[in-house]
C-alpha cells in the first residue's frame, strides 16, 4: 500500500516535470501540437466523465458544450473586441448556460432516454450554427483572433497546460469531496439516492454546469488556437472520439479519461495511413471494450498493480 502510494506520487511528479519542460526538451512543433490536443481533449473527456462515468448520466451532447464555448468566445472577440482570455472564460459560462438548456429536459428522464435527447440537442445546435450563416458564417467558417498573436506553439502549450492542470485540480478536489460520493450514489441507484434525501435535480444540474464550463473553456481555447471555426466542432465525430477515449481509459475514474486521451491521440497518429478506417476502428474498440474490458485500461493497470503487490484486486 505504502509502496504503491509513493510510487504513484513519484510517477505523477515525474510526469509533471516532463510536461513542464516538454517544449524545451522536444521542440518539434508537430509534437507540441499533439500534446496541446492532448491537454484540450484531456479536459474535454475528463469533464464529460463527471456526467457519464461518475454520475451515470448518458450525456451524448458534450460536443455541444465544446462548440458553444468555442463559438461564443470567438464571436465575442470578433464582434465586441473583448480581450481574449476574458472571452474564453465567458465562453465557458455560455457553455454552462447551454448545459442548463440541454440538462433540464433530461433531469426527469431515465438512463438511455437522456442519451438520445442530449444527442439530438447537440445535433440541433450544430445545425443551428450551420444554418445561421449571418452570424456564424456557417460551413464557411469563422476566422478567430489568436490568443497569442504571432507566437509559436510554445505559448499555446503552456496556456493549455495551465487549463489542463486547473481542470484536473478542480475535478480531483470535487470528485474526492462528498460531491463525488453523491455522484456515484446517483449512478448506482437514483431511487436509493432520493430516498436518502439527496436532491438529485440539484446535483445533476451542478454536474452539468461544472462539466460544460470546463468543456466550454477547452473549446474556446481550441478555437483561439486553431484560428478557424466551423460547425464541425460540434459534430458527432467529436462525441465519438470522447466516448472512445473515455471507454478505453476507464470511465468513472480520474486518470482513466486522461490515459484514454493520451492513448487514442497517439494511436491515431500511428493509424494515419488508415485514416479512412479510423472510425471503424473506434467503433470496434467500443464494442470490444464493452464486451471484454468494460473497465478500460485503468482497471487493467490497477489489476496488474495489485498483482505486483501480491494482493487480490482491491475494490
Amino acid at each position: 500500500m505504502e509502496i504503491q502510494r509513493s510510487l504513484k506520487s513519484i510517477v505523477l511528479f515525474g510526469l509533471f516535470l516532463l510536461l513542464s519542460f516538454f517544449p524545451l526538451l522536444f521542440p518539434d512543433p508537430y509534437l507540441i501540437h499533439l500534446v496541446i490536443l492532448f491537454f484540450l481533449f484531456g479536459v474535454l473527456v475528463s469533464s464529460w466523465n463527471v456526467l457519464f462515468g461518475y454520475m451515470g448520466i448518458f450525456c451524448f451532447g458534450q460536443q455541444a458544450f465544446f462548440g458553444t464555448g468555442a463559438y461564443s468566445s470567438a464571436l465575442l472577440a470578433l464582434n465586441f473586441g473583448v480581450p481574449i482570455p476574458v472571452c474564453i472564460v465567458i465562453g465557458g459560462l455560455f457553455a454552462a448556460f447551454s448545459s442548463i438548456l440541454i440538462g433540464l429536459p433530461t433531469l426527469r428522464l431515465r438512463g438511455a432516454y437522456v442519451a438520445l435527447v442530449t444527442l439530438a440537442f447537440a445535433e440541433v445546435m450544430r445545425m443551428t450554427c450551420s444554418n445561421w450563416v449571418g452570424v456564424t458564417r456557417g460551413q464557411l467558417g469563422l476566422t478567430v483572433p489568436a490568443l497569442i498573436p504571432g507566437a509559436g506553439r510554445v505559448g499555446y502549450y503552456y496556456v493549455s497546460f495551465l487549463l489542463f492542470l486547473l481542470s484536473v485540480g478542480i475535478l480531483v478536489k470535487v470528485m474526492r469531496s462528498s460531491f463525488g460520493y453523491v455522484a456515484v450514489a446517483i449512478r448506482e441507484s437514483q431511487d436509493a439516492a432520493t430516498s436518502l434525501g439527496i436532491d438529485i435535480v440539484k446535483y445533476k444540474m451542478l454536474a452539468f454546469l461544472l462539466s460544460s464550463f470546463l468543456s466550454g473553456m477547452a473549446g474556446a481555447l481550441y478555437a483561439h488556437y486553431i484560428l478557424i471555426l466551423t460547425p464541425d466542432i460540434m459534430s458527432l465525430h467529436i462525441m465519438i472520439t470522447i466516448l472512445v477515449m473515455g471507454m478505453l481509459g476507464g470511465l468513472g475514474t480520474l486518470p482513466g479519461p486522461i490515459l484514454g486521451a493520451f492513448v487514442l491521440l497517439f494511436l491515431s497518429e500511428y493509424l494515419r495511413e488508415f485514416e479512412q478506417f479510423r472510425f471503424i476502428i473506434y467503433g470496434a474498440l467500443i464494442v470490444l471494450s464493452v464486451l471484454f474490458v468494460p473497465g478500460g485500461l485503468i482497471t487493467g493497470m490497477r489489476f496488474i498493480g495489485a498483482k505486483l503487490e501480491g494482493k487480490g484486486l482491491r475494490k
Binding site: R108, M127, N131, Q276
Partner: protein, 290 residues
Amino acid sequence: MFDLSILIQQVVYGLVIGSSYVLMAAGFSLIWGIMGVLNLAHGEFYMLGAYIAYYACSLLGFNPLLSTLVAMVGVFSFGVIFERALLSPLYGRKGWEMSTVLITVGASILIQNGALVIFGEKYKGLPMYFDGEVEIWKIFLSYDRLVVFLVGCFLIAFLWYLMKYTRVGMAMRAVSQNREGAYLTGINVHKVFYIAFGLSAAFAAAGGALLAPIFFVYPTVGAGPLLMAFAIVIFGGFGSVKGAIVAGFMVGVFESLVVLIISSAWKDVFVFILVIIVLTLRPRGLFGIQ
C-alpha cells in the same frame, strides 16, 4: 394566401413518409418494451435496407416489392446475429443499461463507417421504381410514393395482426408486460428477444428499402430516421406500438408542413422542439405505459 391543394399535397406527402417513419418507430418501441434496450444502431438497419434494395434493384433488376422483401429478410438475419453477439452477453451484468447503450453506439459507428468504406460516400440515386403518377382530387401522387404508402400500411397492419393474434406476438406482449410471468409459462424469453430484435431490424430495413428511390442512399442515411423514430416514440409513448403508429403519421405530416412553411433545413429543429414540449408537458407521451 396558400393554395389549399398545396397544403393538402404536403399533408399527403407527410402521410407517405409517415408510414415509413412508423415502421422505424414501431420496431424501436417494440425493442424498448420487450427488452428494455434503446438501440442506437437502429438507423443502421434502415441504411442497410436501403443499400440492399439499391443493389437488388440496380444489379439484379428486382422490382420494389421483391427488393423490400429481400432487404427485410437479410436485415432480419443480421438483426438476430446482432442481438445474439452483442446484446445477449450483456443481460446479466450490472449496469447493463449503460453497456447496451454503449455497445449499440459502437456498433452504429462501426457499421456506418464500414458502409462508408465498402459502398463509398457518394450518394447513390435509385431511379424511380415506377414512372408516372396518379391524380386524386387535384392531388398528385407519384406511383412510387403510392407504393411506399400502401406497402408501409400493409406492413403496419401485418405487425398489428402479428402482435394481437399470433402465438409469437402473444409471447412478445407477455414478455413486455411481465418478464418473470412470461418465463414461468414456458416462454423462451431469449428466443423472444432475438426474434423481436430481428423483426424490429427488418421493419427498419423495409423503411429504408421503400424510401430508397425517393431519398438518396448513403452511409449515414439512417441518422435522420433514427432521430425521427426516437422523437415519434417519445411522442407516442415508449413501449406502445399503437402510440408509434399514431405519432408516426402525425410527425410525418408535421415535418412535411414545416418543410413547406419554413424550410427544409430547419425541419429537424422543429420536430425536436415538438419533442421537448411533449416531454415537458406529458412525459409519458400519448399512449405510454412506462
